[in-house]
């Protein structure tokens, strides 16, 4: 069997904690013994509340935080403990969609410059022969910023939140990754544009077999788009499985609680869930 696209094995992440009263070094464990696999074209959600370790795990995939133990492989090759240069080359195939499209785009650059930057970083295409421009226009059209000529010279402040997030996604897709890690990709956006962004990710997965790992605290959205759901609490995975199983027959008490308190839109009798 070929290696999965992304494999996280027994990952542990610790942050140093400094206490003024103590000279001893202490650590806070943010992720504890987490294992997770992702195949090509899969759409998987990691759900959990703030502090559950889901963002730490996403950051570890990109080497933004070191692993205290365990390993992370991309296409069968270890990417933790690599030199920055080798890791960057390997990670070209994995890109990250950020949460806040109001904060993550450089306000001094145009849309075309933002989307072309990864091409320059990875040395794709060459300057002056128009190949980068063509790639940028193509990807802008594919994320729905069409016609590209209307958008390429604009600055982020001239775009709506949804359009900005499309620019962020375009900057990921331009290097044709096979893994997208999206950390709360729609939580800053109005509900009216969320489905459009998620449909865009979903289409990318269907058409190009791009695997998507979405980090979110929004259970209904995760359940609507993903194949599999991974529930994290206090740094550990408490349950994972196909969406229908986790939503309809949760086994872990925390997952049960999470499903119970999620507000339902179409439940017959209104009322507030009683806490034990």
């Amino acid at each position: 069997m070929s290696a999965p696209l992304l494999a996280i094995r027994e990952a542990r992440i610790e942050y140093p904690v400094r206490k003024a009263s103590s000279l001893r070094r202490r650590t806070q464990r943010a992720v504890d013994d987490v294992s997770l696999e992702l195949g090509a074209g899969e759409f998987v959600a990691i759900v959990g509340e703030s502090g559950s370790g889901k963002t730490s795990l996403a950051n570890a995939i990109f080497g933004l935080v070191p692993l205290a133990a365990g390993e992370i492989s991309l296409r069968g090759e270890r990417i933790d403990h690599l030199s920055a240069r080798r890791a960057r080359r390997l990670r070209r195939g994995a890109q990250m969609v950020l949460q806040d499209p109001y904060d993550s785009l450089d306000p001094t650059l145009t849309v075309a410059e933002i989307v072309a930057e990864p091409l320059i970083v990875y040395g794709i295409g060459s300057r002056g022969d128009g190949s980068r421009e063509r790639l940028v226009d193509e990807v802008l059209e594919s994320v729905g910023l069409s016609p590209a000529t209307d958008f390429r010279d604009r600055h982020p402040h001239q775009l709506s939140g949804g359009q900005r997030q499309r620019v962020g996604i375009a900057a990921c897709l331009v290097v044709t990754p096979d893994l997208l890690v999206a950390d709360e990709p729609v939580s800053m956006l109005d509900v009216s544009v969320r489905a459009g962004i998620l449909d865009l990710l979903d289409r990318q997965r269907q058409e190009s077999e791009t695997a998507i790992l979405m980090i979110t605290h929004d259970l209904p959205t995760a359940a609507a788009y993903c194949d599999r759901m991974v529930v994290m609490k206090d740094g550990a995975v408490v349950e994972q499985g196909p969406v229908a199983q986790v939503v309809e027959n949760p086994r872990d008490p925390y997952t049960v609680e999470l499903m119970r308190v999620t507000p339902r839109l179409r439940q017959e009798t209104r009322g507030v869930a009683r806490m034990p």
Binding site: S192, A224, L258
Partner: protein, 325 residues
């Protein structure tokens, strides 16, 4: 019959231009009323005017805001007395809970002191005020020891409970909540919503709950108002609006919101974006995005009319019930 607790009629809020910007019309001819114990939810996209409407009720808008219309609290027109009338309502009858409890609390004072400061002045001795602190904390489900804590020592959910306790300290009859649970995790959010529900029932407290979280609003509130581009375009009983929305915008908002267990095929985004609030459109402001729009929608701004669900709707071509089969 008693007048409603709060009556808002023809409320308009303009922002006077600061630079070369055009004058903006943020809240447009908004009318609604809230009675004792009622829970009204305000929903809509960012920029719809939800927060501005709430802040206008307390005179908390910036200096370049121009407010007109009628705001009557317990039958008394408070706007007639100008800005000072609105200010007098703060801490006497109406209280506000905002999104970020961390910003609402003073980081250098203990919780107990912040609660005592929010109590009405006079009439209580020192011991009685301290007892009242314990009572307020208990009311929001916190132990008395929290009074000695500083805000940074508390979790997000506890801070939001403290913010609610501070709001309750002035013994209000109406609570305004502006995205009061948005920053909280699902489980904590559910507990805070449960607390608000309990307070409304047990203290006969009325609440106006503004949030973009439709499912949460539908769960807490008995009445729902949809705002679009500064107007209330639909208002009525929550269940009836959810089951038979009359305004196309309300229907689309419900269709854009996933319910747990619903797959993506059932979800739709709403194309386009709300109009800039500096624009004066002759017709309906939702017309450019509306799937039901006809020629007349572009030239005539629909008036608010009674709707079949017992509430009201502002639409020339409201959704028909038979469309559901």
């Amino acid at each position: 019959m008693n007048p409603p607790l709060l009556e808002v009629a023809g409320l308009d809020v303009f922002y006077a231009p600061l630079d070369e910007e055009p004058r903006r019309h943020i809240v447009r001819d908004v009318s609604f009323s809230v009675s004792t114990g009622q829970r009204l939810g305000l929903v809509g996209e960012s920029g719809a005017g939800k927060s501005t409407t709430l802040y206008a009720l307390l005179g908390l808008l910036p200096g370049n805001a121009e407010i007109s219309g009628r705001i009557a609290f317990e039958g008394v027109d408070v706007l007639a007395a100008g800005h000072s009338g609105l200010v007098a309502l703060r801490g006497h009858g109406i209280a506000l809970v905002t999104q970020s409890a961390m910003n609402a609390l003073n980081p250098v004072h203990r919780i107990g002191r912040q609660l005592r400061e929010a109590m009405p002045s006079g009439g209580r001795g020192r011991a009685a005020r301290r007892a009242r602190v314990d009572e307020l904390l208990d009311r929001v489900g916190l132990p008395p020891s929290v009074a000695r804590r500083y805000p940074h020592e508390l979790s997000g959910g506890m801070r939001q409970r403290v913010a609610i306790a501070i709001a309750l300290a002035s013994e209000p009859k109406l609570l305004l909540a502006d995205e009061a649970t948005t920053a909280l995790d699902t489980v904590v959010q559910a507990r805070v919503v449960e607390l608000l529900h309990e307070l409304c029932t047990e203290l006969d407290l009325a609440i106006v709950f503004a949030s973009h979280h439709l499912a949460l609003v539908a769960q807490l509130c008995d009445t729902l108002a949809t705002m679009y581009a500064g107007r209330i375009v639909e208002l009525g009983p929550t269940e009836q609006i959810r089951d038979e929305p009359q305004h196309p915008y309300t229907r689309l908002l419900f269709e854009a919101t996933p319910d747990l267990g619903e797959r993506k095929e059932h979800l739709r985004s709403i194309p386009g974006a709300p109009p800039p609030l500096s624009d004066v459109l002759p017709g309906c402001s939702f017309e450019p995005r509306c799937p039901r729009a006809v020629e007349g929608c572009r030239v005539r701004n629909p008036a608010v009319e009674p709707a079949s669900h017992g509430g009201e709707v502002a639409c020339l071509r409201p959704e028909r019930v038979e469309a559901h089969g």
